[in-house]
Amino acid sequence: MTPPIASATGSHTIEGIARVVRVEGLVAWLEPEQTTSCGSCASAGACGAGATGLGTVASRIAARRFPLDNPGGLTVGERVVVGVDDRALIKAALTAYALPLFAALAAGGLAQGAYGSDPLTLVAMLGGLGSGLLAARAGARRLDRRGDLAPRFLRRARPGETCHPGQEET
């Protein structure tokens, strides 16, 4: 992906390229082009992440479609550059992962301290994980409402533009 672009607030915008797959009135549905987290674009190497992906939910690109307000009359098939605040990514990851984990570990620690039995600690941890996930859902809703997480439309992609500057595909 392109190097971070510093903005006035000091946070960086991560740019990504997506393709318009459907237009419904004022909302355009986009599919991200970067299919691997290896750092390379749709031309993935040996990672095994492709159109069908690793057979898991997250890797099927269709499952990662997202809506975008359609400002400039986008048409199906166009490639656009969207931006996400990089602080948003960290916040998202912390909400989704750190919250449940800490809840689980806290619950487990308390159970171990109180009873010292392995099976009980296991159950307590699962309970902690569950409640942590519920808390994460609440946190995610709050982030959603504040609009921090949504990608923003930046510009249309130039014809040969890929995720990497200097590696334009011809």
Binding site: M1, C38, G39, S40, C41, G45, A46, G48, T52, L54, G55, H164, G166, Q167
Partner: protein, 225 residues
């Protein structure tokens, strides 16, 4: 398949498209298990056996494996082969088994077997796939042995030390001492040496490729200018 295509499989696997130096896959054992040439050799051979066997199986069943379940199936096949190799080494090559320890089961998560299964064995007949797996594995063995040799010679001055212990008495003749023990650079057999040796050897392979007039393979170079 023609002989030419077979020759390509052999050459690619052994050197041209070497798993470690060109494709940069299988880095974990390449740096962890190369504190000596013997360890690298043993690790490589274990991986080669797993790769050959799993490529054979995947190619044999490739028409039955659908797109959705292919990765879990590949992983299961590799895991089964790894279990067999693990048990066999525990029984018949116990010293080497103790040295390689964790990294035998970790062959399952080695990117190289999976990559070859996906890129080759899933689309090719049984014999070429078997050969591809075998020779990619042998190329991997060569790479690990070279890294291990470099680290061992600079780090402790020996070459193939403990070969007879780990591989069998027949290999006793391979044990050499090339430099006095106190001239060794200890860092080379410690973790930093693993990274350093691999990095410099990748550069060496690129130099060799350049001299032979071939394109440098910039695998994994994305994102770094």
């Amino acid at each position: 398949m023609s002989t030419g295509q077979y020759k390509t499989i052999v050459k690619d696997g052994l050197w041209d498209n070497n798993g470690v130096f060109s494709m940069l896959l299988g880095m974990c054992p390449a740096m962890a298990m190369t504190t000596s040439a013997t360890n690298g050799f043993g690790m490589g051979l274990a991986t080669a056996v797993v790769m050959a066997a799993s490529s054979l199986l995947v190619a044999a069943f490739r028409s039955r494996i659908t797109q959705e379940i292919r990765i879990p199936v590949y992983i299961l096949i590799v895991a089964a082969m790894v279990t067999l190799v693990d048990l066999a080494m525990n029984a018949w090559m116990h010293e080497l088994y103790k040295v390689l320890g964790l990294f035998i089961p970790l062959i399952v998560s080695n990117c190289l077997p999976l990559a070859r299964l996906e890129a080759f064995a899933a689309k090719s007949p049984v014999l070429p796939s078997f050969l591809d797996g075998l020779f990619m594995g042998l190329g991997f063995t060569i790479a690990l042995t070279v890294i291990g040799a470099v680290r061992e010679i600079i780090g402790s001055g020996t070459l193939f030390a403990d070969a007879s212990l780990l591989l069998g008495p027949a290999f006793k003749a391979m044990e050499l001492r090339l430099l006095p023990a106190d001239m060794g650079v200890l860092m080379m057999i410690l973790p930093p040496g693993g990274f350093l040796a691999t990095g410099l050897l990748v550069v060496a392979k690129r130099l060799l490729d350049l001299r032979a007039g071939k394109e440098i393979q910039m695998a994994g170079a994305h994102g770094v200018a």
